[in-house]
Symmetry: C2
Subunit: 129 residues, 2 copies
């Protein structure tokens, strides 16, 4: 039902063109910078459509949702609490253990999100006393 309009294609292109994790505001600004201004509501609607079509992925952080390209295998995230840097990692065994744990509790799993918090290499170095 949802259409891949010109604007949604542009959002998708921006997201696919980098490995960043974008929030709605950043995407609106990026569109603006590229000469195609876009309403913020349209950004949210477009992102929701793209995500439900599986064309992009997202992670829900404490304050906001961030979107990323979906053309990679499932992975989880490590967020630096100092600089906001996001590192990705995937671990097959963890995924399998999660499935087993869910099954054990009688849950039918539809998704999951693992976010690890800490200091990235850079920030850990910087904060040595």
């Amino acid at each position: 039902m949802a259409k891949l309009t010109t604007q949604r294609q542009a959002l998708l292109d921006i997201i696919n063109a980098s490995h960043r994790h974008w929030d709605a505001d950043e995407l609106a600004r990026a569109m603006s910078d590229a000469g195609q201004s876009i309403g913020i509501a349209t950004v949210y609607r477009g992102l929701a459509a793209l995500e439900s079509q599986g064309l992009i992925d997202s992670i829900q952080l404490a304050d906001k949702k961030r979107y990323e390209r979906a053309d990679k295998a499932h992975h989880d995230h490590m967020v630096c609490t100092e600089c906001g840097h996001i590192e990705e990692f995937s671990h097959q065994t963890i995924e399998q253990l999660q499935l087993a744990a869910a099954h054990e509790k009688g849950f039918t799993l539809t998704g999951h999100q693992l976010v690890m918090f800490g200091l990235c290499h850079q920030c850990a170095k910087g904060s040595e006393s």
Copy 2:
């Protein structure tokens, strides 16, 4: 620095008296029901204080933060997207693999949160067509 005032003690007691995962609003209402009305700002401040003192734990869900007792070993959560039921589970191996993965990426881990989404046993049964 933070004081364990009468109100904060009462919040702590409510949380410790059950295995529920409370949000700020529910706690304010519970206090009210118990005859000690409390300002919502005070609830938030109290919860932040209790959490930073390690007296309670919290999980950040997509929409809001929920608080739970801290007297158990670390665990993660499974949330039923239908009824909101939260099931807890802990998995030693997953924890260890997370630590290893973080180390590999040069991250100094300070915390993590794993939330799994799906249908609980009850809701899975109910939605069979």
